[in-house]
């Protein structure tokens, strides 16, 4: 009896900070993702087990983070942000150049990608900043927030890594937006952005310009940058309403889809599961975002509200950009599909976010008590 009691207490303690709706949704998406990774790599590299390992590790990370109270998380804001920026500067100065992009930093035994840290550090830092000046918020604070946002964004965009820059910038912008950036400024920014578009166009790298051009008409470069879009839209379109069936996608299994287990995994899924599968996946992401918003809405402090909201909208940005580019309505940028694409780093970052959401949610109840 005593042993049972001990076990029960141990178990209750173990799951004390787990949000089951969130866990259930993410586990469902991950199961779909795992099956799709299996289909994408069954002919060649067999990545399913490796991805399952990544998922296990990410879940452990999530568990640890969920146990940290938001106040502790706040303590990480400044150091993490500073370390992130310093590393980004280091990348700018000593980074390893691969395929024309300077994104990696060698730290002896392995290489790290500091821009990945920024995906969490950015909303954390900004949420902390707005929390700190909550009572005395003025225009200059938005200007400083913008500065906090622009420096890492610029460094990442310069690498160049437009996809990550968009995700980092997006996460930061959501914080500022949710913190109450005046609509006048938002509309002004949009107008200024539209006016500056031609200049921005020239600031883009050749390969980035090309990606946007091929989005408008992929057939201009069918064997080059248009190839990805052409083949992935063929995969999606040929899937039809019910899909070709699991493991039966011809575009997938005859190797027509490039990067099919990473950035283009959605084409694989969509070809085999069709419109119905897509609707289910969109619904799952909507549930995930909905749950995240509920958590944000019910959070107890401005810091946790802003952080939860930004992380949640970050998931949306990931999913929308990825599915948009694979289905040919957004330019191709390197953004994985959250909880689906193969890759350990992205999963860990995503589950850091889930862990934070869980922490915010479960610690809110403790605070109330």
């Amino acid at each position: 009896m005593d042993i049972a009691g001990t076990l029960k207490r141990w178990w209750l303690n173990l799951i004390a900070h787990i949000d089951f709706p969130l866990l259930l949704i993410t586990l469902t998406i991950m199961a779909v993702g795992l099956a799709t990774v299996n289909s994408a790599t069954i002919d060649s590299t067999h990545r399913m087990l490796s991805q399952a390992g990544n998922m296990g590790f990410a879940l452990v990370v999530m568990w640890f983070v969920s146990r940290l109270p938001p106040q502790k998380l706040m303590n990480f804001a400044i150091p993490l942000y500073i370390v992130g920026v310093v590393l980004l500067i280091a990348v700018f100065l000593f980074g390893i150049k691969i395929n024309g992009a300077r994104r990696w930093l060698s730290i002896g035994f392995t290489r790290i990608q500091p821009s990945e840290i920024m995906k969490i550090a950015m909303p954390l830092m900004l949420a902390w900043y707005f929390q700190k000046y909550e009572a005395t918020l003025r225009l200059k604070h938005y200007l400083i927030a913008a500065l906090i946002l622009v420096v890492p964004f610029g460094l990442i965009a310069k690498q160049p890594d437009l996809g990550t820059a968009l995700l980092v910038g997006g996460a930061g912008f959501f914080v500022i937006f949710l913190a109450g950036l005046p609509w006048k400024i938002i509309i002004g920014l949009i107008a200024a952005g539209a006016a500056a578009a031609p200049m921005l166009w020239h600031a883009l790298h050749d390969y980035q310009q090309k990606r946007i051009l091929t989005l408008i008409d992929p057939t201009t470069d069918p064997l080059g940058s248009g190839y990805h879009i052409i083949q992935s839209t063929i995969a999606i379109g040929s899937g039809g309403v019910f899909g070709k069936g699991y493991l039966n996608g011809t575009q997938t299994h005859l190797e027509f889809i490039p990067e099919k287990h990473t950035d283009f995994i959605f084409a694989v899924y969509s070809e085999e599961w069709g419109l119905l599968g897509n609707a289910v996946l969109l619904f799952l992401y909507t549930l995930l975002i909905g749950r995240g918003m509920m958590i944000a809405s019910g959070a107890s402090t401005l810091f946790s509200r802003l952080l939860a909201g930004a992380i949640t909208l970050g998931f949306f940005t990931y999913a929308f950009i990825n599915m948009g580019m694979v289905s040919g309505i957004l330019p191709v940028v390197g953004v994985p599909l959250p909880f689906m694409s193969f890759g350990g780093t992205a999963l860990v970052t995503l589950f850091l976010g889930i862990g934070i959401l869980m922490s915010i949610h479960t610690h809110r109840m403790l605070v109330k008590k």
Partner: protein, 636 residues
């Protein structure tokens, strides 16, 4: 952002903004859903087809090209299977290194590398290109053992065209070569592109070109599932190819060979026709070339040698060379005179050895003249004066009209080359022709004096040996004219049915029997007692013939000037003949460039051909020039 802080207001604003974001999320997801519906429902059929096109490749299977045999079934062109070593550039990596490494396993000559480079420039990246052809079994085995070292390199069995007799009959057979831009246009115009998928050779000249679409066959294909790298994974369906139709020729290749030998080193042409059908028995243009050189793609050295050789072996003299017919024109002139009623056979002139027209004197070769000359004597002794007078009496329009019926100055339509492109028209002189030929008004006018030398086959007259042979065959066949042709029948591979190519005469000149009889008798006289008597001494059959000499300096062939410029100004020798005279089985025209007098070099070749064809008599060697004939020839 007011100056005061209101936590409740902040929370409301936060929730409003969150709600706003939620709407944004739903709008964006709706856009995605709309996009999916567009792709997967509305455009589904289109993308379905695209996916299938991606997945399935049709691999063409090239058919066997039709076989060409002579009239007795001797094979003149066929295919044999041989192993080639081929590289697919897109799969092979660094080509230079690959070839260098291959050279350590298999003998690769600089010429192989050159050809590979040339083909590489023309080819698409995913096609395999031969680096070596005709591998021996040992070489195949040597490569097979080292195969793993060479990705993108493989041994393939390919069919090669081969002409077993080499140079013999090459001007008739033609050759095949790799398809060029121009050939592609031809295929497109004929709307045969689908049937040429996978085919890389095509007929370039001669029969190979004329009968290209008969010989080619129907391309089969294999439907295979492929991956993005183009690798075939499994076969879904196979439609076998249908071999090309075979050609059986009217050509007698033994006769051809003997005739070519008879020419020896001399330049010239001979066309022998079966008068009753128009079937060509021998078709010689000398010198000749080996068509096998072209099959793998001719090397630049060989090409240069063939093209720059002073004797122009690539020129098909029989249909592209236009020569004045000289005195071989006289029997046709005589026939025209009889048919138009300008002369009777016995009507005689007194020949002083010249004919004066205006202030110009036309000379006969025999000083002092032939005395009294009737039609028989005019042909047998080749009297020029008789024909000067006759031409003047007939007038150019009548001459041109009659000669046109015999096919002079028109393409014969012989089944060689593509359309008419391979054949020259020659020149049948007439006032109309002159008008078209010249630009300035004073040149365009026809002068009556120009008619005179037309009568003896000189002046503007220029005909191909093929035209001369056709006219001779028509004469031998008593005015019933056939289109000369080399293919007797096409053997359909599918039905095994034999389609005869030329069953009907194109024209009957309705010549009067008594007129024909005069000409036949006179031409028999030529070889019995006239200018051809020496060459035909002792012939056990009766033949009709006529010698001729064409002056090189007055050569008119627009297509064929080079030889005239290059060579010494010795005259061209001509001879026309047919035999046996009562029911001719063979009619021919011979031309020997710079051969001097017709009796001297052309007639002995004709004799050899007739001896073999009628008697089966094999000659000892090349026809010897009859130097003693020179004196006698002065008669011409």
């Amino acid at each position: 952002m007011g100056d005061f802080h209101n936590p409740e207001g902040d929370l409301d604003r936060f929730r409003f903004r969150l709600g706003f974001s939620a709407v944004l999320v739903l709008v964006c997801f709706s856009i995605l859903l709309a996009r999916f519906i567009w792709l997967q429902v509305i455009q589904h059929d289109f993308y379905q087809t695209r996916a299938e096109d991606n997945r399935i490749a049709l691999i063409p299977i090239v058919p066997n090209r039709g076989v060409i045999t002579d009239r007795n079934g001797i094979v003149l062109a066929h295919n044999y299977s041989a192993f080639t070593l081929e590289i697919t550039p897109s799969q092979a990596g660094n080509l230079e290194e690959t070839i260098d490494a291959l050279a350590s396993v298999i003998d690769i000559q600089p010429k192989d590398r050159k050809r590979f480079k040339r083909l590489l420039d023309e080819a698409k990246n995913f096609e395999s290109i031969p680096i070596r052809t005709r591998l021996t079994d040992t070489e195949v085995a040597a490569f097979a053992a080292q195969r793993y070292r060479f990705p993108g390199v493989e041994v393939k069995a390919r069919l090669f065209r081969q002409y077993p007799l080499g140079k013999v009959g090459s001007h008739a057979l033609g050759y095949i070569g790799r398809i060029t831009e121009r050939d592609l246009k031809w295929i497109e115009e004929a709307e045969r592109q689908p049937n040429y998928k996978g085919t890389d050779h095509i007929g370039k000249t001669g029969l190979e070109q004329h009968y290209e679409f008969e010989l080619h066959g129907e391309t089969g294909y294999e439907q295979v599932e492929i991956d993005a790298g183009g690798r075939a994974l499994r076969s879904l369906k196979r439609i076998p190819p249908v071999s090309g139709n075979n050609l059986q020729l009217t050509l007698d290749i033994k006769l051809q060979e003997i005739t070519e030998k008879a020419f020896g080193e001399r330049k010239g042409a001979l066309v022998a026709i079966e008068p009753e059908t128009g079937g060509i028995l021998a078709f010689v243009s000398n010198p000749t070339y080996d068509p096998n050189l072209f099959v793998d793609g001719i090397s630049p050295e060989n090409w240069k040698e063939l093209n720059e050789h002073p004797d122009k072996p690539m020129v098909n003299r029989a249909i592209n060379g236009a020569y004045p017919p000289g005195s071989t024109f006289k029997p046709f002139m005589a026939l025209a005179a009889l048919e138009t009623g300008k002369r009777t056979p016995s009507q005689a002139i007194s020949d002083p050895g010249f004919f004066t027209f205006g202030n110009h004197t036309f000379r006969d070769d025999k000083k002092g003249g032939h005395g009294s000359v009737d039609m028989y004597k005019s042909i047998v002794h080749s009297c020029d004066t008789y024909y000067y007078v006759l031409a003047n009496d007939m007038g150019i329009d009548n001459i041109a009209k009659f000669m046109a019926q015999l096919g002079f100055g028109q393409r014969t339509g012989v089944d060689l080359g593509k359309d008419d492109s391979g054949e020259s028209k020659g020149v049948l002189p007439s006032p109309e022709w002159k008008k078209q030929r010249f630009k300035r008004p004073e040149q365009q006018k026809w002068y009556a004096g120009e008619t005179i030398s037309i009568g003896i086959g000189q002046g503007y007259n220029a005909y191909t040996p093929m035209q001369l042979a056709q006219a001779t065959a028509t004469l031998a066949n008593n005015g019933v004219m056939f289109r000369p042709h080399l293919v007797r029948h096409i053997v359909d591979t599918k039905t095994e049915e034999k389609r005869q190519v030329e069953p009907k005469p194109i024209r009957d000149l309705n010549l009067k029997e008594k007129n024909l009889e005069v000409i036949h008798r006179s031409m028999l006289g030529v070889i019995k007692e006239g200018t051809g008597a020496r060459a035909f001494a002792g012939a056990p059959y009766l033949a009709g013939g006529k010698t001729g000499t064409a002056q090189v300096f007055s050569l008119k062939g627009a297509d064929y000037k080079a030889s005239a410029v290059k060579q010494h100004l010795r005259d061209h020798a001509l001879f026309i003949a047919y035999a046996p005279i009562d029911k001719p089985k063979i009619a021919l025209a011979v031309l020997v460039e710079n051969g001097g007098f017709g009796a001297q070099s052309a007639a002995p070749i004709a004799r050899m051909v007739l001896d073999y064809y009628l008697l089966g008599k094999l000659p000892a060697g090349a026809a010897k020039e009859d130097s003693d004939a020179v004196e006698e020839e002065r008669d011409e």
